[in-house]
Amino acid sequence: MLGPLGWVLLGLVPPMILLLYFLKLRRNPLEVPSTYLWTKTIEDLHVNSIWQRLRNSLLLLLQIFLALLLILACLGPGCQGQKLAGDRFIHLIDQSASMAATDLPGGQTRLDFAKQEAAKLIDSMDSGDTAMIISFSDRANVQQSYTRNRSLLKRKLAEIQQTQRSSDIGEALVAASGLANPGRTSDRESERDVQVADALAAKLIVFSDGAVKDVPNFSLGNLVPEYRPVGALDVPNNVGITAFAISEDLDSVGLQAFAQLQNSDDEAHSVDVELYVDDEIHDLQSGFEVPAGDTRGISFDLGGLLEDLESPLPVRLEIKDPDVYLLDNVAYGTIQPPRQARLLVVTRNNPYLQYVFETDRLAKLSRVEFKEPGFLKTKEYRDNAMLGVYDCVIFDQCVPEAMPECNTVFIGCVPPTDQWQVSEPAFPTLVVDTDQSHPLMYNVQMGNVLIVESMRLTGPPAMVSLMESTAGTIMGVGPRGGYEDLVIGFPIVEYSDAGEETHNSDWPNHLSFPLFVQNIVVSLGGGARFDANQGTRPGELVNIRTRVPTSSVNVRAPEGDEVSLDSRGDRTFVYGNADSTGIYSVLNEESPDDKQLFPVNLLDARESNLAVRDKLEVGFEEITGTVDFIPETRQFWPWLVLFALFVLILEWFIYNRRVFI
């Protein structure tokens, strides 16, 4: 800065200008016929005071003003401000569902507050600093890549929308670390390993309420993380639904709806919970107590709704007491009408299969045709098989010429394709293991079942082995396009050419056999007495499968938007716009009866817990909520110089145009 002498010299500038003005050093000489009249004129003006001359000399005033401005600029005026430490910033804005909580003063949402705070940080950036904005929920979205344009950053920041998704910071961190931790050409051990780009360290500022999954396998590398918790300091009042399911009660008499309520507050709350079926109130529980920081289950009896149910019903569970986070106060479900699987059993009079399908339960779940193997040669079969009339065909020791367009079960034989091979029957067969986790083997206990001889199976690469004997796989299920083929490597009842029955297994005498057949009907035939569609979470893809083949369906979102989907073949459709919670309807114009509903629920205990976390765990580091500011004097001198320049231009204009002197 200037020393005392400099200041004195600076202070002398305006008087010098005045002095120079009076010395009139810059007067241009001009010869005139006579100064007589001019002298008389000046004498008139001289009568007035010198100050009047000054007042009329706009140029002089402007010059002095200009000098004062420049002196002021030299003084370096400024105000104490704050500046973000660093020169590259990555702003991570949480836009997950919990950021919609309105627990901040004035009912402001957490997302709005986060955007506001981020805008402040962008404002406090130096002109040379660059910043990047990434918003994240369960996926990351780079709103704006590195730029110095602060207005662009703020515009992109304002464009960040609230979502109803859960939060996962992992993807956002990967996106953020792209430039900070550039990849390498090969493995680090190699001598020829080259880093593809220079690492550019950046400051990572996370605006979140902390309701994110921990990211254990992530190395921050050159990212310097800072966490800015967003949310009220005291734990907000929120009771939310974190689980919701509709299922049959144990004795299969009626339906029940179960829900789990979570209270993330530090005091107990009693809430009123109402259950709506088809938008009409069906049941309610008032004053349901949920202890502080705990969860409670609640159940509703849906009674005999399933009787004469023809089209799917929407079900909605609501907590009527308002709190700061409304998204988890509603949960959606649907009740689908029972569906009968259409099965074809091709057998030479296997009595056990007939007995099984005659039971009450399976009779409700399925509609079965029994045919002799000769039926396979008829045109009727070929047409039905090609049109996908059947949900599942069971071939008992007989093989079709071509595989039908549906799921199949082969008992004691293999499909007529190259992928399935069998060995010679081996004796004896000792069942070693069954895959009870597979839906086809639910509750199927094979421990005391005797099997005389069986064939070892080799199937397609993706075959899942369901039952293994000492010889190898004797039962397996393998995919075929969109269908599944279940192959059982041993017959149950064999028939000699003379028509004699020989029992190869005592399995039909055990309880596990009808359960296994029921699993086939439910899993391969798609038969259901009650279809509780558990739905998906916001933002996930929804797979829709129609009952009858159709080329397109319309999906109507809860807000009323309709999207038309084209079939991907095999009656399945994929819907990717399920971004908000609610009940979506699938409308099939070709067969209006085939209406489906599916619910989309967040049901996320982490999002419903509104207590703000004071740290985030990323890799082995804990990010705590601090942001480094360095005190900074905000300089105004460039503005003064700019203004002085403007004054100079004005002066030049006046001097040249002589508008007024």
Binding site: K24, P29, V32, P33, W38, T41, I42
Partner: protein, 304 residues
């Protein structure tokens, strides 16, 4: 203004009188509001009786009178000798005084050139009517080489004299007029062509002329830059005659004030002249000489 300061003005190379102007001037005549006594016989009626064709009066014969003028018819009738008197026709003195100070050098065409043109034009009118014409540059010296001319044939002498004139004769107006008055005693018409830019004042000079009982016309010549100055900036004005300096910062206000001062100066001069029977006329160098003579001076009664 810079055109005037640097380089020779275009107007100096132009002839003073064009043939068109000459033919126009031949039809004109100088008019005096007073009847003066001339020295030689001219074309003007004189106060004196003399020899002309126009009869004036009779008087008694006294011894020594020219017998040729006795009216013999009267003698036959009345038996008394009477002498016939005729109107005398005389010439007229015409003086044109041109201010030759340095200030006259300004303007486009210069005021001096303009003054010479005007002097030549008026002088030619006088020459055509056989008046005694003297066109002279104002000078404080007791002698003058200005020719006194009569007759159209002497036009070239007048023009030769005028062409030889140069500015730079910076005496005061009063001294020059006083010197002129001492040298010339004739009565007649006097046209003073000047810019009146004399710091000592023009009043005493005009008084000398009025005292001579001349028929005085004052033609005040100003150049356009003096009437409507087109200058700006901070200037140091140098007086070309006495080197006086006036420092000004041109502003609209100053320009306005200058115009006011000039208007008042002209008005003062007009009033001063009007009170003393001097015909005053202000003209700009922009105004063509032929128009000035044939129109404006005709209105003022100097020519007809």
């Amino acid at each position: 203004m810079s055109k005037v300061v640097s380089g020779k003005p275009r107007s100096q190379t132009e002839p003073l009188l064009t043939p068109e102007l000459l033919s126009q001037l031949e039809r004109l005549e100088l008019v005096s509001r007073k009847i003066f006594r001339g020295r030689m016989k001219g074309e003007r009626r004189s106060k004196r009786k003399g020899q002309s064709v126009e009869f004036a009066d009779f008087r008694n014969y006294v011894a020594g009178d020219d017998l040729r003028f006795i009216d013999w018819n009267m003698y036959a009738r009345l038996d008394k000798l009477f002498l016939k008197l005729f109107m005398e026709e005389e010439d007229l003195h015409f003086y044109a005084l041109i201010d030759g100070s340095s200030s006259m050098e300004f303007g486009e065409p210069s005021k001096f050139h303009y003054a010479k043109q005007l002097g030549a034009a008026l002088g030619y009118i006088g020459l055509c009517r056989a008046d005694r014409v003297k066109v002279e540059m104002l000078d404080a010296s007791p002698t003058s080489n200005a020719p006194v001319l009569r007759g159209k044939a002497n036009l070239w002498r007048m023009l030769e004299y005028l062409d030889g004139l140069q500015t730079g004769n910076n005496c005061t107006l009063t001294e020059a007029v006083k010197s002129f008055s001492l040298r010339n005693s004739g009565k007649g018409i006097l046209v003073l062509i000047t810019d009146l830019m004399d710091k000592s004042g023009y009043e005493s000079a005009l008084r000398y002329l009025v005292a001579r009982n001349l028929d005085v016309y004052l033609i005040h010549v100003l150049s356009q830059p003096e009437i409507d100055p087109d200058i700006h900036g901070d200037l140091r004005l140098l007086d070309c005659e006495d080197g006086d300096v006036a420092e000004i910062s041109v502003s609209q206000r100053l320009i306005d004030r200058y115009r006011q001062t000039l208007a008042r100066y002209i008005e003062d001069a007009r009033e001063f002249c009007a009170r003393r029977g001097i015909v005053y006329m202000m003209t700009s160098t922009e105004r063509p000489v032929d128009r000035l003579v044939s129109r404006y001076l005709r209105q003022r009664g100097l020519v007809r």
